[in-house]
């Protein structure tokens, strides 16, 4: 008993001595290392995709810095603290969504932003990407797993409210990602397979209903274009044809950094935001894309390890949801640019230009680090 306790203590001493600084600020070294690699790759590709615009590069780098800072701050929070405040944060988030819905700032023809000039300007929907799975994880963790029918029903309501509000903005892409992150919590929480199968079976009539009553014209157009991009090669099919041409013409080894013609001659639209993987594919070829996907897989592998090692159900559910949702970002973006999926506005994590996305993603990884680094070693004995 004493020996065991001593060993636990000395183990702690060893850990503290080995990575004392990172340990003290609750940072996971593996995650940080992989995130930095992704950040550097992103800056390299962005330099080419943005037409050697150094201003763009500096903006992105500083966003990345801000994101890292947010990550460090989030990593300091005790997971228990997060759980206890999640319900309130959820309510605040919903309230902000309502505010946006009523009197939001109009950007890009869609009402998505909260803007207090000179202070802050952000999208509440972005917050919900974190708060919804967090709240759901908190809710499910309070009860025995797997969730009962009543719990599932309440969970559905918790999901549906922000989903509808975000979809109304209209930002179906973000709404779906919020939905996905919440569904992952339910899935990890042991949602029974028959429920999952019947939900999948229900997708068809729901999709039909959405098509008829919910989806906007531009969203329908995206789906139609996805199904047959060549039908309108100069209009809405242009993006996908050009991105496929960019990736395809890269071949195995690519045309070389800064030598991609599709992006540099402006044939590839949105080359520095949603379609940036096409630039990477054109300039670095299949090898470049495989290496990037490998880095993502390593990051996800480490996040899965963190999930497995999480000590609380809340931590496991939240970490797992963040990890799987992160993969969904990657999959949906790469799938859409390569023509596997319809064009939805999902940026490629850490590579696409955009500060909001970076900060959201890094705060997610901050939560992962918090879950991992706030473990109670004493409790194991």
């Amino acid at each position: 008993m004493n020996r065991g306790f001593d060993r636990a203590l000395s183990d702690g001493d060893v850990l503290r001595r080995r990575a004392s600084f990172l340990q003290r600020i609750h940072i996971d070294g593996w995650l940080l290392f992989l995130l930095l690699i992704l950040g550097v790759i992103g800056l390299f590709v962005l330099y080419s995709a943005g037409g050697r615009d150094q201003g763009l590069l500096i903006k992105q780098a500083s966003s990345f810095g801000v994101g890292l800072l947010v990550m460090v701050v989030v990593a300091q929070l005790e997971p228990r603290f997060m759980a206890s405040w999640s319900a309130l944060m959820y309510l605040i988030g919903v309230a902000l969504l309502v505010v946006v819905d009523v009197m939001g700032h109009n950007a890009m023809g869609a009402t998505r932003w909260i803007n207090i000039p000179g202070v802050i300007r952000f999208q509440p929907a972005e917050l919900m990407k974190v708060f919804v799975p967090m709240t759901l994880a908190w809710y499910l963790a309070r009860h025995n797993l797997p969730p009962t029918f009543k719990h599932i029903l309440i969970s559905c309501v918790l999901i549906a409210v922000p989903f509808v509000l975000i979809a109304r903005q209209p930002d179906l892409g973000t709404a779906l990602l919020v939905l996905v992150s919440a569904v992952f919590v339910l899935f990890l929480g042991g949602l029974r397979w028959r429920w999952i199968l019947s939900a999948v079976a229900a997708v068809v009539p729901i999709a039909f209903g959405m098509w008829m009553f919910v989806m906007h014209q531009y969203q329908k157009q995206r789906v139609l274009t996805f199904l047959n991009p060549e039908s309108d090669p100069l209009g809405s099919g242009w993006n996908i044809i050009q991105s496929k041409a960019a990736i395809g013409s890269g071949g195995v080894y690519g045309k070389g950094w800064l030598l991609g013609t599709q992006s540099h001659l402006d044939f590839l639209p949105e080359s520095h935001t949603d379609f940036i993987i096409a630039v990477l594919g054109e300039e670095f070829g299949l090898v470049g894309i495989c290496l990037l996907l490998l880095v993502y897989l390593l990051l996800i592998a480490r996040a899965l390890v963190i999930t497995l090692q999480a000590q609380t159900v809340f931590g496991k559910l939240l970490a797992g949801s963040i990890t799987l949702t992160f993969f969904i970002y990657v999959f949906v973006n790469v799938g859409m640019v390569s023509g596997l999926l319809p064009v939805v506005g999902v940026p490629l994590p850490f590579i696409s230009y955009g500060g909001t996305s970076l900060v959201t993603l890094l705060s997610g990884f901050g939560i992962l680090m918090a879950i991992h680094t706030h473990r109670k070693w004493i409790a194991q004995s």
Binding site: G248, L265, F267, E282, L286, Y296, T307, S338, L340
Partner: protein, 631 residues
């Protein structure tokens, strides 16, 4: 006491979540493999396809039109030039609100609302994205300057330069050199699409048409890299166009102008040929027109005026005007008679003022109704005695007459390089049987002997037959191009020279022609008396048969236009011919009175120096002083 239950449940939960995470991890790996295989499909399997797509995106081939060959007169004076012409283009996609830009253009250039309407129409027609649409042509220096100064107000507006044909000599060569015009639908189908890919104009008539292939040149091209907005970023490959060949004409602008001046505003045609080389020195069809408006596109109104004019300025009288040759063919008929052996120079015919076929009461009248008495060949030519030639034609018969006249080029196209020349008509028994299903009447032979009846000739044919008289049957097709790209055009199918059984037979015909001007009873002796050198010539009148198509009835005009056409052919100096001329003055009535002085003026312009003396190089070797100098 929930603690033990919690503890137990925690293990179940952990197992459950671990199982679900395993499912998730497997899904992640499978979906990643799906992405990798998708990329493999795009980048390896479909590599060629996408590579081509990307290359086609960025690389465009632009054709570089060749510069059209220049045309000079025989002394190097520019007849057809290439002038930079500026047009105003507007690119809608770069203009932003293009209607506002259009308003600015109108304001800057101080144009009216009609122009704006026209420009708007032109802009709406151009439909390819990022294609500059020409809205205004032929900008002046001032307009270019105004656009440059106001460029900041005119986004998407550019001044584009291109080379456009210009004829500095205006109407002087409209009927010989012709003109170029915009390529039309019909021509587009026949043209070599590649070679003409950058060309907007093509030769429509004259030299411009005949030597189109040589003048046009060979198109070049440029492979350029463009961005998505069509802007050219760099040139990847360039094959220079090969400019068209320059053409030096046989025409002499000074002689051309002198000939036109000699017509003195009358309608008519003049052709001057250098008989030893076949070079056409002057080719006049009056009235003429300025070919320049046809290059950029003549307005419908202006074209209508030219087309409907009673004077027919668009009508090429030299190549397409058909006239009975009248007495001008008498020297050639004489050659036929001499060579066929039906007459000798001393053969005499008595002229009572008419001619009658045996057993026929019909009188074929001499122009001099009192008769010239006993007439030999020399006098018959000098006096243009009709009776003698009725007799001669009768002796020859239509078959021999047709053969000999054909050898002089009548009834066939004679030129080497003239566009749309008419063959005219040299009648024969076969022709009449085919045309009228009738046999040939002997009386028709008689009037053919004096150049009347069915026979139709062009002024060019008259000039060429005169040149043949001067060169004693040496056939060289008359041509307008002295050199094309420095090379003399070759006649691959020259007509056979006229070789007489006795070449001396040319001499009495020449003498007769000389006596037309220099004989005591010559019809044109007034003109001959004033000449500084010996001229061989022959007058003629062509009866105007009917009102031509397209003319409106107008009593005064029509009567004037019913008068005979005056004809005169001549070559000089008679001993050593340097120039052969055919003159036709429409409704001039008198060949010797009206056409002959015109012919002499043309001859003078070519043969005399500033002091009114025969140029030394033209003087016959055996004569030291010119004959009969008068100032």
């Amino acid at each position: 006491m929930p603690a033990p239950i919690r503890l137990k449940d925690h293990e179940v939960d952990t197992r459950l979540i671990r199982g679900r995470l395993l499912v998730g991890a497997v899904a992640v790996i499978l979906l990643t493999l799906l992405l990798v295989s998708r990329m493999y499909y795009l980048q390896v399997v479909q590599f060629e396809h996408h590579s081509t797509l990307a290359e086609n995106n960025r690389i465009h081939v632009q054709s570089l039109p060749p510069t059209r060959g220049m045309i000079y007169d025989r002394n190097g004076v520019v007849v057809a030039d290439n002038r930079a012409s500026f047009s105003l283009t507007l690119t809608r996609e770069r203009a932003g609100d293009w209607e506002t830009v259009l308003d600015s253009i109108i304001e800057v250039l101080e144009l009216d609302a009609d122009s704006r309407e026209l420009f708007e129409k032109r802009i709406r027609q151009g439909r390819r994205p990022f294609e500059p649409v020409p809205v205004m042509f032929e900008l002046t220096e001032e307009q270019i300057a105004r656009v440059a100064v106001n460029q900041f107000r005119l986004p998407g507006v550019e001044v584009a330069a291109s080379l456009v044909r210009y004829y500095p000599q205006k109407e002087h060569f409209a009927h010989s050199v012709g003109y170029v015009g915009r390529i039309n639908e019909g021509e587009l189908k026949k043209l070599d699409a590649v070679n003409y890919s950058g060309t907007h104009h093509i030769g429509k008539t004259g030299i411009e048409r005949f030597y189109e292939d040589e003048l046009h040149g060979q198109v070049g091209y440029e492979e350029v890299e463009t961005n998505a907005r069509g802007r050219v970023l760099r040139v990847l490959k360039r094959v220079e166009p090969i400019s068209g060949e320059d053409i030096y004409l046989t025409l002499d602008i000074a002689l051309q102008e002198a000939a036109e001046a000699a017509l003195d505003g009358r309608r008519g045609a003049i052709v001057a040929i250098e008989p030893n080389t076949g070079e056409v020195l002057a080719m006049v069809s009056q009235p003429s027109f300025d070919p320049n408006p046809f290059v950029t596109g003549i307005s419908f109104k202006a074209y209508g005026e030219l087309r409907d004019s009673l004077d027919q300025p668009l009508f090429n009288r030299v190549l397409r005007g058909l006239y009975p040759p009248g007495s001008t063919i008498k020297p050639m008929v004489a050659i036929a008679g001499l060579d066929a052996g039906v007459i000798t120079p001393s053969t005499r015919v008595f002229d009572p003022g008419f001619y009658q076929l045996p057993n026929n009461k019909h009188k074929y009248r001499n122009w001099n109704r009192y008769g010239d008495g006993w007439v030999d060949l020399d006098l018959a030519l000098a006096r243009s005695n009709d009776t003698y030639f009725y007799d001669l034609a009768h002796k020859l018969g239509i078959d021999r007459l047709h053969d000999y006249m054909s050898r002089f080029g009548f009834g066939q196209r004679v030129s080497l390089d003239m566009f749309e020349e008419t063959a005219g008509l040299m009648p024969s028994r076969d022709w009449k049987r085919n045309r009228y299903r009738q046999s040939w009447y002997p009386g028709e032979t008689l009037i053919l002997g004096i150049g009347q009846g069915y026979m139709q000739t062009t002024p060019l044919q008259l000039a060429q037959s005169t040149a043949l008289m001067a060169s004693r049957g040496k056939w060289i097709r008359p041509h307008l191009a002295r050199s094309v790209g420095g090379v003399q055009p070759v006649d691959t199918d020259p007509p056979a020279d006229i070789v007489l059984r006795d070449q001396k037979a040319w001499e009495p015909a020449r003498l007769g022609m000389e006596h037309v001007l220099h004989g005591a009873r010559g019809t044109a002796r007034k003109v001959g008396d004033a000449a500084a050198y010996r001229i061989a010539g022959k007058s003629g009148t062509a009866q105007v048969v009917a009102i031509k198509q397209g003319e409106r009835y107008n009593r005064e005009k029509t009567q004037e236009r019913h008068r005979d056409h005056a004809l005169f052919i001549a070559y000089a100096p008679a001993e050593k011919p340097q120039i052969a001329v055919a003159v036709m003055v429409e409704n001039g009535e008198s060949g010797s009175g009206v056409a002959a002085p015109v012919a002499k003026q043309v001859l003078d312009a070519w043969l005399l120096d500033e002091e009114g003396l025969l140029k030394s190089q033209y003087r016959p070797a055996d004569s030291v002083l010119p004959v009969g100098v008068k100032r």
